[in-house]
């Protein structure tokens, strides 16, 4: 790379990094505003609703969570605490710190999202490549239709159906596999600390099958469609014709010439779908009682557990921002045509 190119690359990196910082700041601010104007008194959820309750208990709780401070003061404290990872304790589970809770939940969500994204990519890219290769054929039509059908499914509904299907012997079929449809209590059974022991690992994997399968099936259509259309784009180009004329096999054309050029839209898509996948994971975690970030967020909203809520949303947002940032970098790396503006 020339020195001018390197300089413009550095300038772009700085600009993108500044944008990332601004976006994260915006996420924190919006999140703070939304949560702190929420109606409902969290104190009422923390203490038993008893008129004879000692007011001192309420006082001490207000004191502990700094609930009577001014809005601006709370905002500044919140920003500072978010950045320094000093996330305090939960309203509901006072014995555990928010950082503990969220970092524990995050592991499970990353496991779920990672597994399902892996399967989504494999299924989606294979289906998309096949469809593009036999464009207009029977496989193309049926795979597109099936993909769109699953794509339009409410994810939580699909999760319910799978949960029901694999928890009963459908139509009296004895061989039908039974899979655990609810994860929470089984994972809790092995204690909050994960140990690398075979029975625990097997149990975790067993509990992962249904949730990750649901997410993968519900989202492979997006990958397949983009794969198909970017390959169709490439396949019409002249150099593919040249490759054919050279006598390359179809497989070699696909691997050597078509796939590498279909890659950039793929990377952009993956980054963009991170938000979608997180949204899907939220619903799936609720249905399967899977102890992840989504489950925690939803229950925190129901219980008005603000300390958890205000950090758990930031974690989700930051994950999306960073995924997009990384995707940008990868795109620059794999596609030299991208202008360094």
């Amino acid at each position: 790379m020339t020195s001018a190119g390197r300089r413009s690359l550095r300038r772009m990196l700085v600009k993108r990094s500044v944008n990332v910082a601004i976006t994260i700041f915006g996420i924190m601010t919006l999140n703070f505003a939304l949560i702190h104007f929420m109606p409902g008194d969290p104190i009422l959820n923390m203490v038993p609703r008893d008129p004879k309750l000692d007011p001192a208990i309420k006082e001490s709780l207000i004191d502990k969570f700094n609930l009577d401070a001014g809005l601006f003061e709370r905002y500044v404290t919140y920003l500072w605490k978010t950045v320094t990872l000093d996330w305090g304790t939960s309203y509901m589970m006072s014995s555990r710190s928010v950082w503990d809770i969220i970092s524990y939940d995050m592991r499970w969500t990353i496991l779920l999202i990672g597994t399902s994204t892996f399967f989504t990519l494999i299924i989606g890219m294979a289906v998309g490549a096949m469809a593009a290769y036999r464009r207009g054929g029977a496989f193309d039509l049926t795979s597109t239709a099936t993909g769109l059908f699953f794509y339009g499914m409410p994810i939580f509904w699909f999760a319910m159906l799978l949960q029901e299907a694999f928890s009963t012997q459908l139509f009296g079929m004895n061989w039908w596999p039974q899979l655990p449809g609810s994860s929470y209590y089984d994972i809790v059974e092995y204690g909050p600390v994960f140990k690398w022991e075979l029975p625990i690992i097997l149990s975790v994997l067993e509990h992962l099958i249904l949730p990750s399968l649901t997410l993968a099936i519900a989202s492979f259509a997006g990958v397949a469609l983009v794969m198909r259309s970017s390959l169709v784009d490439v396949m019409n180009d002249d150099y593919i014709l040249t490759a054919k004329a050279k006598g390359l096999t179809d497989y070699m054309i696909l691997r050597r010439h078509a796939l590498p050029n279909g890659l950039p839209p793929m990377v952009a898509l993956i980054a963009m779908s991170v938000a979608f996948i997180i949204g899907g994971a939220y619903q799936i975690e609720i249905v399967f009682n899977y102890p992840g970030i989504g489950y925690r967020t939803i229950t925190a909203i129901w219980e008005l557990d603000f300390p958890i809520l205000q950090f758990v949303v930031v974690v989700g947002g930051v994950a999306v921002v960073i995924a997009n940032f990384i995707a940008d970098l990868v795109l620059i790396y794999i596609d030299p045509r991208i202008k360094l503006v």
Partner: protein, 312 residues
């Protein structure tokens, strides 16, 4: 003097009427062409058929339904009835006829999706237009806000806003979905405006002294409309799904029947364990096919209206 200015005014209004007629003729010609292309496209045809089916149900559902459904009062029948000739799909836990509820729910579900999508598209298009056209720091500020909106997963954003509002009616749910879902459209329109702005005919228009508003109205809006239109149809599909998901997470509109609320009550009352399979399977299937209809139509329209894709 008087007479001549009068004649001039008459002449001008005649020309204006002529232009209006010509524009209308062009519009009809274009929509005919798009419709023909749509019906030739297998995806477009399938989508249109599905949507016609659901529109009929939405329009006449309450008259077709064997029983009246009033969600503000408790059900008319005995709960837990199995499917029979009187109740094709049985009755639910509250004593509503499930088949009638499905017919009633079509209208509300479609209305929520369409209105929310229109709001999202109008706001998104306005933001995108302004941002792309104004450029500079205004563009920068709007796009950073847009980044924030896109980075918080939409579902979470909607849940937080719903939590902020508290009691939820059908109107509120439409507003929540519409006002949180415009970011993707804004980005799309902005990109389109940025590419349009550099075209020669816009430069020429500016050179002969056209104002910004005029350029936006006569050149940029008509040229980005097809894109926004196809995108709106796709947003309808997402909005219908969002309503169902919000309902499932207990942010449901009160006093109305939508397929989303049916699903959520069915899940909360463990319909599967009670053997009320229709209650949970049918509204879900209806949502899937309705969303599929809008998605197919949206993709087909995108293919037809988007000249970049049409060449293929």
């Amino acid at each position: 003097m008087m007479q001549s200015s009068n004649r001039k005014a008459k002449e001008a209004s005649r020309i204006r009427a002529e232009v209006r007629r010509e524009k209308l003729r062009l519009l009809i010609f274009r929509s005919k062409r798009v419709t023909r292309a749509l019906l030739k496209n297998p995806m477009g045809l399938a989508g249109t058929i599905i949507l016609i089916f659901f529109s009929v149900i939405a329009a006449f559902g309450p008259y077709l339904a064997p029983y009246e459904v009033d969600a503000t009062r408790s059900g008319l029948f005995e709960p837990y009835l199995p499917s029979s000739s009187e109740h094709w799909m049985g009755t639910d836990v509250f004593g509503y006829d499930i088949f009638s509820m499905l017919l009633y729910g079509a209208r509300t579900s479609i209305l929520v999706g369409m209105f929310a999508a229109v709001i999202a598209s109008v706001v998104g298009a306005a933001v995108g237009l302004y941002s792309g056209y104004a450029g500079g720091w205004k563009d920068e500020v709007l796009m950073r806000i847009n980044d924030v909106m896109l980075s918080i997963p939409w579902l979470v954003l909607m849940i937080l806003v719903a939590g902020l509002i508290g009691t939820i009616s059908l109107t509120v749910i439409i507003l929540i979905i519409g006002l949180t879902g415009w970011s993707a459209t804004a980005r799309l329109v902005r990109a389109q405006v940025l590419s349009l702005r550099e075209r020669q005919y816009i430069e020429r228009a500016r050179a002969i002294g056209s104002g910004d508003l005029h350029i936006i109205k006569t050149h940029i809006l008509p040229n980005s409309f097809p894109l926004v239109f196809a995108n709106t149809i796709l947003t309808v599909a997402i909005s219908i799904l969002s309503e169902a998901t919000l309902s499932f997470l207990h942010m449901r509109p009160y006093g109305t029947v939508t397929w989303g609320t049916m699903l959520s009550y069915a899940y909360d009352n463990s319909a599967f364990q009670l053997g009320l399979h229709y209650w949970i399977v049918m509204p879900g299937l209806c949502i899937v096919f309705l969303v599929l209809g809008f998605t197919l139509l949206g993709f087909a329209l995108d293919e037809i209206l988007n000249p970049r894709l049409r060449k293929r």
